[in-house]
Assembly symmetry: D2
Homo-oligomer: 350 residues x 4
């Protein structure tokens, strides 16, 4: 049994990890830390009574003895300051923010600028060693990486929808349109306008059109894998919030070589994800309710003959495959376990 | 005071008309008819007690005396069989279905085929005289048309988003992508899987991708207004249901001539809708909650310099500007009143 | 046309007033004030564009010239400090908080204690002159009162359900059970745990059982109206939040003299509210959707023969009859207009 | 590994069983049957792909060989006709309807009458042998019963809230008030007005006040366990629907002997449920979100000193402890396993 430490235990990321790890066959929680510390997690969250009754400690009081892996389920620019405590002791780190999703400082700066944050990074020397925590692409590098940057939820939905087409050179044109719909939990646990019930119920809207910070990591991954480096794809990503709590529904549009039809594309996708246990290529239109409570991503591809467009639809649970579930998948790989250990979760339906 | 007859009074279309007309300064309800007849509308819908307590009659018992206008808030292929009763008495008809949205039988057949219905039309001789009930475009023809085909809700959101760009020749390329999100009330009042609470709460999904019946009317209107007829636009429309009741959020993507920027496009749109009291060009991202309970359509335009794409976002209340509100706007025009009579509705917020 | 000033214009109470008064035939908004001031209300709330574009001023910059009435849509213990500015100029004040709901300082202290606030009142000399703004009971006193304390939303639902039975001496026993379900908007506009979407969706719970601050005003009103003063009723009120935005559903249980049946009680209620245009006694079970967007309160009474219990069910929109709608009703009365001026609102349905 | 057959596999009850049993350590699904048969369950419900891909057979084609237990997740008056097929082969039956919840035909008739059904029972000879499937009370009888009548969801919430107080003689007076709020999934999977999204969103209402069919089973259980048989309790149950999908929140009111305070009652409850792993006595107010996706029932007790009333609040997931979860708990007991096998489910939160 491996020991995992969760920093940022009291946000949605931390709660997701607690949920999964309390049922995990190979990883147990050895400690919880968060800024709002000093009481039992189950006194703060009564739904955890009898499931996890550990005290939440201050991040300053973290004891790294016997720790096999650490999850930094913390906001941007927290992990970059905590990481050396673990890195220096050779404890692998999985960070939930954008801090370690980029190999170059320039990319990080673009990300930070898009998000309206300071562009300075306090541990830039670790960027090159860190890996983007996308098991469907970077499995081998995750096996040994000291720091794993867990992808953004929207980015995950875009990348899984695009990778097989991009890597196989099926796409024409340089701009890929990503129309992304997320549930409200994507805004995190801290109360504000973006997760206010009266403002979000019965309301859908776009925001930060073309400027969402997840853009950078998607373009990075998609273009990194291009055989022909001269053709760099650009993403036009329009994020939207719809009145549900969990779930992302992504519709991706691209121009496609007219020689391909739905059946062929479908086979490319099935083939590409043949070893990816959580990506399901579907012939029916994915519903976010199908993946609710699971680590799955359901994908449907369709070539519209009338217009010559490829449509790829992906659906995932933003708190699982879009966050904690994928983080545990990374941890499983990094710790040498089956990547699906503790993650064969049934959807909650209805 | 003009007298209006409502056929199909017990569905969402009929209820919307009752709501508006019971407060209308120039039109009163002279009769209600529906298949589920025989009791007072307020016994079926207690929220109408004291607001509208008329009996619902059988469509067969309709008395057209003193009727100035009739609303056929009925499903597809009902109005085509009822229409002559009114047409022959020179009573203007506003039909809510696809029956009179097309000038040619061919277009109707495509519509019907997309919807999986019989392609036969029982009153084809009226198609040419009928007008597509889009006040923002067909105001003058609505003034005298004997039959007005009220647009589909999704079509309205697409057309209002596209018209100014299409008519001004701002667009490049032939395919326009329309990613449409609707609330559940779009599925109507009859219980089924598409409006089941357990199946729709916390669920978003696409359906009939590229094959929704509203496609035809949008392509018709957009291409009809093209100066250069050789460039026919095609719409790739991907409808989606999100877990709200009212509201449509449409995101439209097109290639744009690089000489245009957001500011210029914005001015084109403002200019185009300068006489359209219900279309608001907005610099903030439209929220469906802004238009909930109103006849408004809020539109934002944005040119994404990175990718050379035009994004147009439109938001409307599918039961009002997308249905009954627009129908009353048509009736106002047809009856010679101000087009906004009875329609200056405040949004219900929050 | 009378001039109304709204202080606290940017909360749900203020927004509700703006909604009603922009359509009111006899009252216009002459000024808006709030702590978050300095911009147009429609820049803060885009849904108000073209409906109300007034600047929001600082409460300190209020100009009382030509003001006929002032609404203090402010939290507890704000109005008590602002009131003299208006009282001294003989401008009638309608306060939305608990500041002026009580004639005695002792009652106010109990209220404040239940709510966990300071018990000191800065304008106690006005308590005796002020009136509890319940038109169904205090119509005549509202006609001339200098200060009107607008009731709490839950209190309104309890009082309207109980008054006819209590005043007619129909009840046995001393404890009345009030089981109250409210939508999330009752928690106001400021973001916090109690109106967080992720925490409130798919969640129902009780809170402050038997200790909610609205208890005091209900017991006051019910017992004030008792013919036999020796029998003071006590309320056991259990407030609950359910995952909707607007609406209160109250179920009230009491022991009843066995000689009464449903029919008789129903007649007592109809008779009692015969001059109250907004209280509807219903034979069908009230739905909160029936009253959504209206100033109505729907009430059903039922005597359960098996158990000898009286059940009274009341439903209202907490932001209208439970707040702004009732405030305007009070203003109408105070300004000598018809009490329903501007308040004949149709429900938004569905 | 024991083999379980699920009849009525395509409703919410069946889906709940499939969810639990596909992860159960000791029971596997050996067959699925339902009226809508002929395809794979995962073709009907794509969320089950890779989780359960069994064909759904006609109930007539059921093969009982090697079946260790059968779940009849069927509506009222279906199980009574199917039961002998299993009973005669000594296969234990767990029925989800009211068919086997009563020992006497008279009680069944009252139940059927309240529900507006035919009062005739086709297997009345099995009523006496059957047991009410309430593990917290009837554990020993469930161990060997040939037929187990799984309780109604509302009944479960009432009974668990009342049992300790009733059995310990803590209550005064004869009427217990049960104010029950349920999510929409309680109305089942078949589309109708009671589970229509447009009619249920933003809507709360009471229904069948004092006449809900679950009354009978609650009174049966509560009074059966009374030491003093002369004091029969009556339940005044007022069911309500609130706009959530899963969850029941029950508030129970009773008169209580003034010598008891909250602390004492709390201890009675803790003691009573000391061997019941799924009943949690809580000092914080139960939230339905705490039990969402679990087999738990959270209960809080409170004595209101001002009014002399006992309040008991219970919260459970109507599809789990209120249906399939409890059914599996019964199956575990009946098959000699730990009662919590396969049922240590974490809540889905948020």
């Amino acid at each position: 049994m491996k020991n995992a430490l969760i920093v940022g235990a009291t946000g949605f990321g931390g709660l997701g990890l607690i949920d999964i790890l309390t049922k995990h066959p190979g990883i147990r929680i050895s400690g919880l830390a968060a800024l709002d510390h000093g009481i039992k997690i189950s006194d703060m969250y009564p739904h955890l009574r009898g499931i996890c009754d550990l005290y939440v400690k201050s991040p300053e009081d973290i004891n790294t003895d016997n720790t096999d892996i650490v999850f930094l389920a913390t906001p941007d620019q927290v992990g970059m300051n905590l990481v050396h405590k673990f890195y220096d002791r050779k404890i692998p780190v999985i960070d939930f923010s954008g801090d370690f999703r980029f190999h170059s400082l320039d990319d990080y700066k673009t990300y930070a600028r898009n998000k309206g944050m300071s562009e300075s990074h306090s541990s830039p020397e670790l960027l090159e060693e860190s890996v983007y925590g996308l098991p469907e692409k970077n499995f081998n590098r995750i096996l040994t990486a000291p720091v794993i940057g867990n992808p953004g939820c929207f980015a995950m939905a875009m990348i899984l929808a695009l990778l097989p087409a991009a890597e196989n050179g099926l796409l024409k044109g340089s701009t890929l349109i990503c129309d992304g719909k997320t549930g409200v939990s994507g805004a995190g646990i801290n109360p504000g306008k973006s997760n206010s019930y009266p403002l979000r119920y019965e309301n859908s809207n776009t925001y930060r059109e073309g400027k969402h910070q997840h853009l950078v990591e998607v373009e990075n991954v998609i273009n990194y894998s291009l055989k022909n480096k001269s053709e760099q794809y650009k993403i036009f990503f329009v994020p939207q919030i719809v009145p549900m709590n969990r779930g992302i529904l992504m519709t991706v549009y691209a121009d496609i070589d007219p020689k391909f039809d739905t059946k062929t594309i479908n086979e490319f996708y099935k083939e590409y994800y043949t070893k990816s246990p959580f990506v399901h290529i579907s012939e029916s239109s994915p519903n976010t309710s199908e993946v609710r409570g699971t680590n799955r991503c359901c994908i449907k591809v369709l070539v519209d003959n009338r217009t010559g467009k490829l449509l790829v639809i992906s659906a995932l649970d933003n708190l699982l495959k879009g966050q904690s579930g994928n983080a545990v998948q990374n941890a499983n790989i990094r710790l040498g376990m089956d990547q699906d250990a503790g993650l064969n979760l049934n959807p909650i339906y209805p």
